[in-house]
């Protein structure tokens, strides 16, 4: 009798929490639309390619070579994914450390975006590295003179911190109030740790390229590249939060009903911060070029022109658009600036790790294989699905119903 009651309670819990109070049939019927099915087909293809990569090896699934050992799984999934996930520590620091309580409403979505970004970046890294069971070696060996050692430790630690930060809404959703209260009290400490680990490894990702002055084009190479990586991560964090909250306010509009959050004012505030940081970043990058004696390369050849496209089109232009939008209270302009800035960060990371890397090679240049592209697209789709699934259930964009 007791077993039957327990089983009924569990079934009720699953129906309420997982299937949003609907039967499995109704739930699937309502959600299996054509775009969702198409996305699932792409993800299934991506998972099949991952299985093939582990079966046949990196050479069979990718266009990587001894000349170009890093492709888009590192350049896009890892470098860009980690950078775009910087909203977690940026907004976390603004709210918990600097006391900008107005931004509290966007702290949880930023942490969730960061957490998912890191998980997907780690999956991409594991697919690239192969033999995931060997990753545990990092914790057993002393490699303190290696930048990769620092990156590995910081990513492990920061992902753990993000998991604990995300555990706050997760346990609130489960109704485990004691654990939730303890974690909520620990949030300030966790934010301090997240800022520390992020600062270390966002910059360390840039430090990976310090040993490649001959391989990375002089316009992108700099001995201060770790500073550029950190500052651009802050820009990516701010811009990604604006992009993500703009999309959330459209897609999950129902969840914002009844909330007294002035999203436009938050966007304008973030736009102002974005403008100032991007302005500084533009001059820092110029300083890097001068310091590297690479001024002569500006505008010269493909790479010189490509660098101008990145700097003028994806750094200076969004800087001015951010400034104009924030000054004149044009929310749309700020959102456009954020979108362009995000594209600029993606372009910058791809330039450094793929496009302007090995720039001296005239033949056998690296182009990603269709399998590499499929895996990267699949990971992005999985991230979007996961965000959507969580936001529909857990108190990320809204307080729980009984607290409304």
């Amino acid at each position: 009798m007791a077993n039957a009651e327990t089983a009924a309670a569990v079934q009720g819990w699953i129906r309420e929490k997982i299937f949003l109070g609907e039967t499995v049939g109704d739930y699937l019927k309502e959600r299996l639309t054509a775009p969702i099915i198409a996305s699932m087909v792409v993800v299934a293809g991506g998972l099949a390619v991952i299985a093939y990569r582990f079966y046949a090896g990196l050479g069979a699934a990718t266009n990587l070579s001894q000349n170009q050992p890093w492709g888009i799984w590192i350049g896009f999934d890892m470098m860009t994914g980690i950078c775009l996930a910087a909203g977690g520590f940026t907004i976390g620091a603004a709210v918990e450390i600097f006391g900008l309580e107005d931004y509290h409403a966007i702290e949880r979505p930023a942490i969730l975006t960061g957490f998912l970004g890191y998980i997907l970046a780690i999956i991409g890294l594991i697919v690239d590295l192969g033999k995931p069971w060997n990753m545990v070696q990092v914790t057993m060996r002393n490699g303190t003179q290696s930048v990769l050692f620092e990156v590995a430790w910081c990513v492990m630690c920061y992902t753990s911190v993000l998991a604990l930060e995300f555990a706050v809404p997760f346990f609130e959703w489960l109704g485990w109030k004691k654990v939730y209260e303890v974690l909520k009290k620990a949030l300030l400490g966790l934010t301090v740790l997240s800022v520390m680990f992020s600062t270390m490894h966002q910059s360390a990702l840039g430090s990976l390229f310090i040993i490649a002055p001959g391989r990375l084009h002089p316009l992108w190479y700099s001995e201060s590249i770790f500073v550029f990586f950190f500052v651009s991560a802050v820009i990516a964090g701010i811009s990604m939060v604006i992009v993500e909250s703009s999309i959330s306010h459209t897609v999950f509009a129902k969840q914002f009903q009844g909330q007294h959050v002035d999203a436009d004012a938050l966007t304008l505030g973030l736009g102002k911060a974005g403008a100032v940081v991007m302005f500084a970043y533009f001059f820092l990058k110029l300083q890097g070029v001068v310091d590297n004696h690479a001024v002569e390369f500006i505008g010269k050849g493909f790479y010189g022109k490509w660098w101008l496209v990145e700097m003028l089109g994806f750094v200076l232009f969004p800087t001015m658009l951010y400034a104009w939008g924030a000054r004149n209270r044009r929310v749309k302009a700020v959102r456009w600036a954020a979108g362009i800035a995000v594209l600029g960060i993606i372009l910058n990371r791809l330039n450094i790790s793929v496009i302007a890397f090995n720039y001296k090679l005239t033949e056998n240049r690296y182009y990603p294989s269709w399998m590499e592209v499929l895996v990267s697209v699949s990971l992005v789709i999985i991230g979007v699905f996961a965000f959507r699934w969580i936001v529909h259930r857990m108190p990320v964009l809204h307080p729980l119903a009984d607290e409304n």
Partner: protein, 52 residues
């Protein structure tokens, strides 16, 4: 990378310091521009939420 000798560092220094000074001057103007414009209300809370 450009060739380096004892003298090439000198011109770079002038450019570097010039760039830093230019940045500082422009930053003041940029900051004033961004902070100007129509007076913004306090971000984050909608007007009706602030009513007692």
């Amino acid at each position: 990378m450009g060739e380096q000798d004892f003298l090439s560092g000198y011109s770079a220094k002038i450019l570097e310091y010039g760039l830093a000074v230019t940045y500082l001057v422009l930053f003041v103007l940029f900051w004033r521009y961004v902070q100007g414009g129509p007076k913004a209300k306090q971000p984050g809370t909608a007007p009706e939420a602030r009513k007692p």
